[in-house]
């Protein structure tokens, strides 16, 4: 009897609900897609740095927080929004320069794990320094982005979510063009393939690293604005990096489109699981379900959906 009930919860009830209320299901899917874009924004920062330097930047979440804290801090100091944005971008470029000068330069040709450990240290530094500088209170972030909800054919949509999705799409488009059609983009890819070979043909590794960390800082700023507008700018922004990990596992660590598609799949997948399969385990499954989903994909594509397949002789 219990087995039948269990099978019902797994296979029957969710499908009955989906087909009984298709409009609600559509709302769940759209909501998942929009949330997925937000995850992608965070994942993009990871991808950029990994793609260009092979470093898994554990500090990307802290960079999101740091950028948002600076933006709100400048606005609170009375700067107009455009100037606060500009100043924050400058701060993130300076940060990239300092990271290259004091961290990466000393770790060239070191094991990946050493670089990874260094970024863990950077995480704590940025969290602590950011909060010391600007405080730990929740700071509202209002850049005038519209935030009204409206209904279309029974579907409730929110202007802010749509704006965030649009911004994410534009950002991805720009980055894709940047990587594929500019000299710097090609240099970035060359560095990603082989540091020493890239240096041998005259690509300035240090400059490339500063550029890529600056771009990751800018992406972090965009993610910080979108997430910070939802929850206020506060420490927990740095924890959204955890939301990006399954996206990276799924999409591949080196693919910009992978970060986007991965984000969308994770966003939709976790929402559907939380809403339709919640009764099975009592709820609050979306956090870990995202990892289950990503790991399930890995069984079939270990390099992720769009990741590069690496074959090494052992």
């Amino acid at each position: 009897m219990e087995i039948i009930s269990f099978l019902n919860l797994v296979f029957v009830n969710p499908l009955v609900e989906i087909f009984s209320y298709p409009i609600f299901f559509a709302e769940v899917v759209i909501s998942g897609l929009l949330t997925g874009v937000m995850y992608s924004l965070v994942a993009l920062g990871f991808v950029l740095i990994f793609k260009a330097s092979g470093v898994f930047n554990f500090a990307q979440g802290a960079m999101v927080l740091f950028a948002a804290l600076n933006l709100v801090g400048f606005i609170e100091q009375g700067f107009p929004i455009w100037l606060a944005l500009l100043l924050t971008i400058i701060v993130m470029i300076i940060l990239a320069f300092l990271i290259e000068r004091f961290m990466l330069r000393h770790l060239i040709n070191q094991e990946d794990i050493i670089l990874f450990m260094a970024t863990i240290g950077l995480t704590f530094l940025l969290q602590g320094f950011g909060e010391t500088l600007w405080g730990s209170n929740v700071k509202p972030l209002d850049l005038g982005i519209p935030n009204q909800s409206f209904e279309v054919a029974g579907l409730l949509l929110n202007e802010f979510d749509l704006f965030a999705a649009g911004s994410g799409a534009i950002l991805v488009g720009v980055l894709a063009v940047f990587f594929h059609y500019t000299r710097i983009g090609r240099a970035l890819r060359a560095v990603a393939d082989d540091h020493q070979a890239a240096m041998a043909v005259g690509i300035p590794l240090k400059t490339i690293w500063i550029i890529v960390w600056s771009v990751a800082g800018f992406v972090g700023l965009v993610a910080g604005i979108m997430w910070g507008a939802k929850s206020g700018v506060q420490f927990s922004l740095s924890l959204i990096a955890l939301k990006a990990l399954p996206v990276l596992i799924l999409g591949g660590f080196t693919s910009v489109p992978g970060a986007i598609v991965g984000g969308l799949i994770i966003g939709v997948g976790e929402k559907i699981a939380e809403i339709y399969w919640r009764p099975l385990v009592g709820g609050a499954i979306e956090n870990w379900f995202a990892y289950v989903l990503a790991l399930a994909f890995l069984l079939f594509r270990p390099q992720g959906l769009f990741g590069e397949r690496i074959i090494e002789r052992v």
Binding site: V28, G128, V138, L141, L237, E274, A284
Partner: protein, 438 residues
């Protein structure tokens, strides 16, 4: 070689000065109170006003009165980041400080409280988990060392249902209503569930339970379910960023905010900041006034900040959680004062302060003497009742400040107390505790 020597000397100097700077000098006539705080980490926006409230009240007592009957209060902060493991470490670090050890401990975290309960009786350090922690600890026969007055999560949940009944025109109108509980997926968040389930059976309302995982940055799925279920009322047991996001999401699905009621940990000033105008109408339970126009506040401004209101405001003065900690610190001070009446005006041990907590009787008159008349309700603790079943009151956000919008609402004691006794008895059996006779 020389470089190493210089570094060693520098390290030694920093080490020595660090110790001097952070270790309070405790003399025999000073009462030590450990402070487990979280000024950093994801819950810092809630932890900062709490820490500041404790610090300011104790400082005010020292500066205004010269301590408690001449016994100065000393305190030391230890950063927990709202992390249970760190909280236990802080407790272990501080429990033996001071000439008589820790007077009592305010963990300010349900997770930490759960971990400290077995230690309290061994170390003889009473726990004051004011309005949080293990609800069953209200049964003082089993939990001799734990106090959770003036009221608990279970009492709060029952008072919330009573409030809903009042709003709906009587208990009979609860039948057929739908009430959702959006809760932090933790020991704390789940505390109210058994009460809400028991009352659901009693009154016939449908209960929808929706858990939100830590930290609660993303809650779209939860609020889609609210949109589909269309509950008549939503009750929330959240903390930190979960509250801010929930209020924003509720506004975004156009849920009627005046039917969305947070528990007393979901109604701080920080919680309504991100939603801005969207939070207007949101309600929360509390057990004290949200305003800062009481004589006790004037005393803090005068004796702690030298009359500098702007400096005080920068230190969370007057915020909801700051005010709550003023109540908490007052309970601690009055318990020590009560114990002094029995043991003498000197630094007391944890066991002596425990007696003070158990015999605490704060009357309307005493509240008036302390400049807190109308700020909170009287409390009378007893051997068997460490909770006192105090009432709650509902506050509402008007877009710029919190206002009280209800009368005091009593918990449904006839339902809650038997549940408390049953849970306490189960705990006693599991842990081989022989309940005291009270």
């Amino acid at each position: 070689m020389l470089r190493n020597l210089i570094l060693m000397l520098l390290g030694a100097v920093i080490g020595i000065t660090g110790v001097v700077a952070t270790t309070p000098v405790v003399e025999a006539d000073e009462q030590f109170i450990p402070m487990l705080v979280y000024r950093t980490g994801p819950y810092a926006p809630s932890g900062i006003p709490v820490a500041n409230g404790f610090r300011d009240y104790y400082t005010m007592i020292n500066n205004r009165d010269g301590g408690i009957n001449g016994v100065k209060i000393t305190f030391e902060e230890c950063e927990t980041e709202y992390n249970t493991k760190l909280g236990v470490e802080c407790y272990e670090k501080l429990k033996n400080k001071g000439s008589t050890g820790a007077s009592l401990v305010n963990p300010f975290s349900t997770g930490i409280t759960y971990q400290l309960i077995p230690k309290a009786s061994v170390d003889e350090v009473p726990i004051l988990s004011m309005g949080y922690g293990r609800t069953a600890a209200a049964d003082g026969r089993v939990f001799k060392w734990v106090f959770n007055f003036p009221t608990t999560y279970w009492s709060q949940a029952s008072a919330f249902i009573r409030y809903v009944a009042q709003q709906e025109g009587g208990e009979k109108n609860l039948k057929g209503k739908k009430i959702a509980h959006v809760y932090h997926n933790s020991a704390y968040g789940k505390e109210a569930n058994p009460t809400l389930q028991a009352l659901s059976k009693k009154y016939g309302y449908e209960l929808v339970l929706l858990a939100v995982d830590h930290p609660g940055q993303e809650q779209k799925a939860t609020w889609l379910q609210i949109r589909r279920a269309k509950p008549d009322w939503v009750f929330m047991s959240g903390w930190g960023v979960m509250n801010q996001v929930a209020i924003k999401e509720a506004a975004s699905i156009r849920y009627p905010m005046d039917h969305f009621v947070g528990n007393w940990w979901s109604g701080s000033d920080a919680d309504v900041v991100p939603a801005a105008a969207g939070a207007k109408g949101y309600k929360s339970a509390t057990f004290h006034s949200p305003t800062s126009d009481y004589p006790v506040h004037s005393d803090i401004i005068k004796h702690v900040y030298g009359g500098d209101m702007s400096k005080a405001k920068k230190n969370s003065f007057g915020e909801v959680l700051y005010n709550r900690t003023i109540v908490n610190a007052m309970f601690a001070v009055e318990a020590i004062r009560t114990a002094q009446a029995k043991y003498g005006n000197r630094a007391l041990t944890g066991a002596e302060v425990r007696w003070g907590l158990e015999n605490l009787n704060i009357t309307e008159n005493r509240l008036k003497e302390m400049g807190m008349e109308g700020f909170t309700k009287p409390v009378k603790v007893s051997c068997s009742d460490h909770e006192t079943g105090g009432p709650i009151i509902i506050q509402q956000w008007d877009g710029s400040k919190w206002n009280i919008v209800s009368d005091w609402v009593s918990p449904i004691r006839e339902v809650v107390r038997p549940m408390v006794e049953k849970a306490a008895a189960a705990y006693a059996t599991e842990n081989g505790i022989k309940p005291r006779s009270c």
